[in-house]
Every structure is written in structure tokens, then in C-alpha cells.
């Protein structure tokens, strides 16, 4: 059964005269890892906020179509109720620090306190989340004293501790170094394996290609494609949407090496390697 169903979603921010989202329709199953790509200003963040109910309940504006999480229509529930089901991590780690807590440990507890989680469970969840994102060693530091990457991992931990069934991450790794980025992806993949549905906006195509189950391309608020990374990155019109395929895909495209089974170019190092090795063996 689909966890999230988006049907013909249209949305216009107040005081603007263009549709930020225009006819988006897709569905995702529990535990799926969905990558969302597109150029700047294409509506990726708006879509993320639509899944979390911030659009339209926080911004108002004109809204059409619907977003269903399980059998709840997000438009009709309060954001504070929906946040138990859908967690959101934003781009700027700095503005996700609440500012009312003096340590990282307390900061992560903020959402749990609001949800009314009993203390014992709170401690257990916080420890788990910190462990998962490898920030236990910063537990007594002031949240504002962390580096951008550490702060972002804290922000992710704060959401994970709330144990939502869907997590939406809006360019969460833009502030991180390559190693930090990999750690975040590993952590998110673990969650996805546990059955949590992940939506990830990202500009790093190699990461999207290797982690996503399916990829959604948005351009000018319109849905261009929703398919497996292999099919998406084998498209010939990626340039039009400001998307650059992973390096491995580009190399294989130049070499004309398609996977004979799927008819697509490989998108990850492993796939490319396998394909090229096989070719070599045949020669």
C-alpha cells in the first residue's frame, strides 16, 4: 500500500502570480527512498513543505489537489499533529536550532517535550538518535557552538528522535563535508531500511543515484519524470532541466555502454564497473 499519495497538487504562494507547484502526482511506498531533483527555484522545497503540511497550513495561498499520508489528508490536519508522522529537516542548520536549549542533548528533546513523550522514553530515543548520527560526543555542547555539519546532524537527530514514519530532507547535506555527507546518507539509508519513507532533495547526483529507489524531476513546478535512477539518468533531455547525470553515467553514455537487461546507462560506480568488466571479459 502507498504511504504517500500526491494527486494533481497545485500551489501558489500568497502575493505571487505563478504556480510554484503545478500538477504534481506520484506515490511512494513505506520504506522507499525518493530523490527529488531539479534546478534552483523549481519547486523542490515547496514540494517538501507540501508533504509536511507547511504548504498550505503555514503559508496559506491557493492550493489544489491533495497530499495523503496514510489516510490523512495533510491539508486538513494541524502541522503539530502531522509532525508525529512526517518529520522535516531544512537546509539551513542554523535556523533549525530552537535557541531555547543550552545543550545538544536538551535541543534534541525539544520536539519530544512538545509531543508529551514520558521522560524515560525521551532519554532512550535521544540516545538512539545521537548514536545514529554520531553526535554523542557533543551532547553537552551549546547547540550554537557546533559547526555547520554537526549542527545539521543534530537537526536530523532531533527529527529522528520524534520517530516519524516519513522524513523529508531538504538539501540537508549542503553544509557538510564529503565525509559528513556520506555519514548522513548512511544514517538515512538505515532509517529507510527500517521502513521509514524518505524524501531527499539533493544536488549531488552521485548520491541520489546510489541511494534513491526512485527519483522525481521537477522543473518550473511541473513534474517531469518519476522513475528509477537508471531510467531518469538515461534520459536525453536532462540538460533542459539543469540536471547533470552522475559521472559514471556520462562516461558510459560516451562509451555507449548500456545495461543489456534494463536498456539504461549505469548510474553508480558499482554498476559501471560491473558492466565494463563484463564487456572486457567478452572481448
Amino acid at each position: 500500500m502507498s504511504k504517500i499519495v500526491v494527486e494533481n497538487l497545485k500551489y501558489k504562494y500568497p502575493a505571487t502570480d505563478f504556480l510554484a507547484l503545478d500538477g504534481i502526482s506520484f506515490s511512494a511506498k513505506a520504506g522507499e527512498f525518493i530523490g527529488i531533483i531539479g534546478k534552483n527555484g523549481s519547486g523542490k522545497s515547496t514540494l517538501c513543505q507540501a508533504i509536511a503540511g507547511l504548504v498550505p497550513n503555514f503559508y496559506k495561498g491557493s492550493y489544489g489537489g491533495k497530499v495523503m499520508v496514510d489516510d490523512i489528508e495533510v491539508k486538513n490536519v494541524d502541522i503539530s499533529d502531522l509532525c508525529e508522522k512526517v518529520g522535516t529537516v531544512f537546509q539551513n542548520p542554523f535556523n533549525q536550532v530552537t535557541g531555547s536549549k543550552l545543550t545538544v542533548y536538551e535541543e534534541i528533546s525539544f520536539g519530544l517535550e512538545n509531543l508529551g513523550i514520558p521522560k524515560e522514553e525521551m532519554i532512550q530515543r535521544i540516545d538512539e538518535a545521537m548514536e545514529l548520527l554520531d553526535i554523542t560526543k557533543y551532547k553537552d555542547r551549546n547547540p550554537f557552538d557546533l559547526s555547520g555539519g554537526q549542527m545539521q546532524r543534530m537537526a536530523i537527530a532531533s527529527i529522528i528522535a520524534m520517530q516519524p514514519e516519513v522524513i523529508v530532507l531538504d538539501e540537508p547535506t549542503s553544509q557538510l563535508d564529503p565525509q559528513g555527507r556520506e555519514e548522513v546518507y548512511q544514517a538515512v539509508q538505515k532509517l529507510s531500511k527500517k521502513g521509514i519513507t524518505i524524501f531527499m532533495v539533493e544536488h549531488n547526483m552521485e548520491k541520489i543515484a546510489s541511494y534513491s529507489d526512485r527519483v522525481l524531476i521537477i522543473d518550473d513546478g511541473k513534474q517531469i519524470a518519476y522513475d528509477t535512477p537508471q531510467k531518469i539518468f538515461s534520459r536525453d533531455d536532462l540538460d533542459e532541466y539543469g540536471i547533470e547525470a552522475p559521472a559514471f553515467t556520462k562516461i558510459c553514455r560516451e562509451l555507449g555502454k548500456k545495461n543489456p537487461v534494463t536498456g539504461c546507462y549505469p548510474v553508480t560506480l558499482e554498476e559501471a564497473n560491473d558492466l565494463l568488466k563484463k564487456d572486457k571479459g567478452e572481448m
Binding site: L54, F58, C83, T98, G99, S100, K101, E106, E113, G116
Partner: protein
């Protein structure tokens, strides 16, 4: 990060007490002298406050606070001692300058009151973590939203100061003069303050979103990670203070009836 809170954790008895006890102490220290109508009570409270602060190892931190008000108080003493209307009894003669008894007594009353207010507030402020105090209020039914506003101020303001410093540096690196005489500084003010205000507004929107998705507006009852700040002594201290207050009122009423 620099905090604007004056609180410092010293592990003292005052640190361990519930914030309510300290607030009650302020009320008692300010109201009881008025009820009893004797300046001696204020002096006793000043002594108690100093004792408490000394015991909590934070007396040193009161010096800058007292320094500022001390200057004002000194002028009060001089002006009132020299020129108060009704000055008739000379008390101290320094060359041509004569201090009068009436004026000095009046000034003494003011000094005692101010010191009493300052020191009793110091007992609360220097020994209480702001978030503990607000959290205890929220537990007692104070709105968590307002609580958030009060607590976050302590971190958001230093944050804005830091943003201001960054913007100052950025503008300076583009050749803007930010130091010099008054006119230069006034001219530099607008290009500095407008980015600060704009960025604060944007940050506030983003922070509001981030709070929203962490259940800030959830209607269910809040729970707390930290245990309520209180010690076993709190109950007795609070009862004693309330009894003292009642005793003061009774004493005054009985005194009036006689």
C-alpha cells in the same frame, strides 16, 4: 558562545533551590520593610542578601551592578546632604561644604531601598538558570509559547550581535567606513542595520517553520526532560517566608489597633 545571562553554575545552595523560593525572597525583601515600616528591616535584608551571595560565591559579580548604581547613589547622597529643603542640623563640615543631618538621613533611606532591591534581585538572577525558572513556570501553567520567547531571547540576542559583527566586517571589506567620528558612525548605521533586520526576519520565518515541525503548537500536555528544579528545603523555606510575611502584617495591624 557568549550568553547575556548573568547566571553561573557554582553548585551552591542557592543554585539548588527552586526559582520560586528566590522569587518569594525578593517579594519578602521588598514588601516586608514597607509593611513593618522600619528601615532596619531593609538593612537586615541587605545583610541577608550579601550573606547569601557571598555563600554562593557570586558576590563578586554584583560589583559591576553596584558600581553603576553606586555612582547614582553617591550623587543622591551629595545633593540631598547639601541642598535638601528642610536641612537645618549640620552634621559634617568639610571646609565650605556642610552636610546636613536631615538630607543625609533621607539619602540613606533611598540608598538602603535601592541596595535592597538590587541585591535581592541579584540573589535570583545570579544564581538561577533562566531556563529552569521559565520551565518551572510552564509546569505551573504558564504558556509554553511565552516561555519559549523568554528563554530564546538569551541565545537569539547574542546570535544577532554575532550577525551584526559579521555584517560589519562584510561592509568594511567593501570599503565602508564604520569607525571614526560621530557623523561617520551615523552614516554607517543604516547600511549596517538594514541587513541585520532583513536577515533576522528571514531567520525568524525559517525558525518558525523548524519549530512548527517539532510540534511547537502541539495541544497535548508537555513533558520535560529535566526534573523540576527544587530541593527538599524549598518547602520549608517558602513556608517560613510566607509566615514571616503574615507575621509582619499581623504585627502592623495589631500595632495600629492599639
Amino acid at each position: 558562545m557568549k550568553s547575556i545571562s548573568l547566571y553561573e553554575e557554582k553548585g551552591s545552595i542557592l543554585n539548588k533551590l527552586a526559582p520560586e523560593s528566590k522569587i518569594l525572597y525578593i517579594i519578602l525583601a521588598l514588601v516586608l520593610p514597607a509593611i513593618v515600616g522600619s528601615k532596619m528591616v531593609s538593612v537586615v535584608f541587605i545583610a541577608i542578601s550579601i550573606g547569601l551571595l557571598l555563600f554562593s560565591k557570586v558576590l563578586k559579580k554584583t560589583i559591576p551592578i553596584l558600581g553603576v548604581s553606586g555612582f547614582v547613589l553617591l550623587t543622591v547622597v551629595i545633593i540631598q546632604g547639601l541642598f535638601r529643603a528642610g536641612n537645618v542640623t549640620p552634621l559634617l563640615t568639610l571646609g565650605p561644604v556642610i552636610f546636613y543631618k536631615e538630607g543625609l538621613l533621607f539619602a540613606f533611606n533611598i540608598v538602603v531601598n535601592v541596595l535592597n532591591i538590587l541585591l535581592s534581585f541579584c540573589v535570583l538572577i545570579l544564581a538561577t538558570k533562566p531556563s529552569d525558572m521559565i520551565e518551572n513556570f510552564v509546569r505551573k501553567g504558564f504558556s509554553p509559547r511565552f516561555g519559549y520567547v523568554f528563554i530564546s531571547v538569551f541565545q537569539i540576542i547574542p546570535q544577532m550581535t554575532e550577525t551584526m559583527a559579521t555584517i560589519t566586517d562584510a561592509q568594511r571589506s567593501r570599503g565602508m567606513e564604520t569607525e571614526g567620528n560621530l557623523l561617520v558612525r551615523i552614516k554607517a548605521f543604516l547600511p549596517l542595520i538594514s541587513p541585520v533586520v532583513m536577515s533576522s526576519l528571514i531567520n525568524t520565518k525559517e525558525r518558525a517553520l523548524a519549530l512548527e515541525v517539532r510540534g511547537f503548537n502541539a495541544k497535548n500536555k508537555k513533558t520535560f526532560l529535566n526534573d523540576e528544579k527544587k530541593s527538599s528545603a524549598d518547602k520549608y523555606i517558602q513556608i517560613t517566608m510566607i509566615l514571616l510575611l503574615i507575621a509582619g502584617i499581623v504585627w502592623r495591624v495589631v500595632g495600629c489597633l492599639k
